[in-house]
Point group: C3
Chain length 273, copies 3
């Protein structure tokens, strides 16, 4: 099933509009190309509506937000909604500043998102209206473990019910949930936390997967999350003694580039709760 | 002949001012260093005239344009013209939005470009005043093939005659033309379309080549185009089973770094029409 | 001694706030992760004070400054000073434009920096109030050699005495000085000048090192400088025939990722004057 989602990306080559941060934007573009999609980045208020109209999906990432780009995010999101295009929100660092928290909440209020993809601290911030994000990483106190997995799943389902969005809460165990079902995904590798923007890349790829699989946002988002996790495993398997996080970063994108639907199907590790 | 153009870049180490997008800017800087030039990026209206005065050439790329940087592009372009410095235009995504099309046309109107470098859809948009660019990639209907090559060459020559700029229209077959002669270049590899910003990198490199070869913009631009294509071939030859587009991207820049004038001379595949 | 400085970064994982240029920002984030720190990039005036409050150190880099981000640099710097957080200044291209020179001088005037890290031309510009920077590279006339090393050391010490900042003046021989002592460091490799942003990466890493070693800015900055130089050496040792500056760039970050305190201790080449 997850393999089919990737297959559809390769078949339909969705064009994805990204309003994203300047830290990881190049990796987002390259991972979109790697998975079979096509990226376009545009953040000027004057053009975002036109650009998003050309595209099959929109990815909004607040990683280096500013007053100019916030206006563009709102405009593009609303236009994508009017057109019925899927939209992903990556609330990078929500909880770390009032501007980030309020912008994420405003986006949630004014734009309908197909998927919200963040770490546990970011998602909790959105659910509670405030949070304790440690910069752009999840707070240790928030980590999902085998012990609190049940609670985390319930939380994700409840937040999905409230927002009407699929909730992709990523960490050691990834949870991708709508109001009724949750994929608990156990792919990935600890090295991923040493690469800046693994989360940003996943959000961009999620936009491609849901654009290519209309009406199937839950499975499509789960497939994107499992693909990224598997890419981390494949990248790690390939590492030699002198490789570090920079080579690992290349290998992850390479792994997505070479990933087959069969491989994803076979190596995705998940249960549905 | 093309090899000599590269040799001159290595000898003169031209400093190139780039006003470019934040997606591929790092690759543009590194490929400039790879070919023997030196990059500087500066886009604030307050400083672009001074910065461009220090440089030997200017590269204007509208990939993530906004109102702030458009003003800087115009100012820098005019100053470079006053100083007789060569200027390259990369009209990324012209045709995809009114803002991009109009900005590109305004730049063409107010700044004299030595070279305009884009894909076929972008160049057609500039020639016709409107277009059907699919995001930042060329529309399939626009592709240059062996069948329509003659027409494409005539079109490029006519657009060069109209603008007074060398026209570098890149795709499967690259055409680099002034009003009388066109280099039809058949280097390159399909993998290049899986790397974001191969075109942006080429535009930056073109600015270096024409800066290093004054009075010879046609051959210099052709040499830059052939170098990029050859870099794609060399990068592909080096790929191993697990390499994907991320490793390929490194290998392309590496190939430019190690490219010798003799190698370019020997492996450039082109005819002049 | 220098090894201990790196060990502290690994132990304390300092969160570093970066207001930096969009050219090399991704490499800055990845090298911070490589050395054991954690990066956050935020440049909007509305949030920089809050973000810097969460962090252990601040890195201000004027590489692609503009009116919007200059205001943010000043605000964040002052807040970091109030909180007693260490702050690094990287005056990229000071001397190349009035905007850069004046911004760097204004930052020096209004913010107290723990470390100023730049090439010789940039540092001279700050000391003299004007300069002859060739773009973002040091002017040849400014280069530190064995012959003028004594003068350069005196100059660095005097500038440190004037500013109250540790001065890290990097080039073929690196000088890291306070008003009384100067580390003269002879690590590094010429290939480093073919990678855009090696200096930016060093500045980011310096912020991590001084944040992790409070009260020891001189040794901490010297350790960061030696680590970067050693990373260049290790990266070069690893190069194969087809590798160029792009692979070298990955290898440098990889080398920092795998660097042990013992390795740094053993291979750091320096004397104290």
């Amino acid at each position: 099933m997850l393999g089919t989602m990737l297959e559809k990306v390769r078949e339909t080559c969705p064009l994805v509009h990204n309003i994203t941060n300047y830290v990881t934007v190049n990796d987002c573009a390259n991972i979109l190309l790697a998975c079979g999609a096509s990226p376009i980045m545009a953040d000027d208020e004057e053009e975002v509506c036109e650009i998003t109209s050309l595209c099959a999906g929109l990815n909004i990432n607040i990683g280096t937000l500013n007053s100019r780009t916030i206006a563009s995010m709102l405009k593009a999101g609303k236009r994508a909604n009017e057109l019925g295009h899927p939209v992903v929100l990556d609330p990078v660092g929500a909880g770390a500043s009032k501007l980030r928290t309020e912008t994420a909440l405003r986006l949630l209020d004014e734009v309908k998102f197909s998927v919200i993809r963040g770490n546990v601290s970011e998602i909790k911030t959105l659910a509670n209206g405030s949070g304790s994000t440690k910069g752009v990483d999840a707070d240790i106190a928030d980590r999902v473990t085998e012990e609190n997995l049940g609670d985390a799943v319930s939380f994700a389902k409840a937040f999905s019910a409230k927002t009407g969005s699929v909730v992709a809460m990523t960490g050691k165990i990834d949870i991708v949930a709508d109001s009724e079902r949750a994929y608990c995904i156990r792919n990935g590798h600890p090295m991923m936390s040493l690469v800046t923007g693994a989360g940003c890349q996943l959000s961009a790829m999620t936009a491609a997967f849901i654009a290519a699989n209309p009406g199937n946002a839950l499975e499509a988002a789960a497939a994107a999350v499992a693909s990224m996790g598997l890419a981390g495993e494949l990248a790690h398997e390939r590492m030699t003694e002198k490789d570090g996080n920079a080579s690992f970063r290349c290998y992850m994108i390479d792994a997505v580039c070479n990933m087959t639907p069969e491989q994803l199907e076979k190596r995705a590790v998940y249960e549905i709760r």
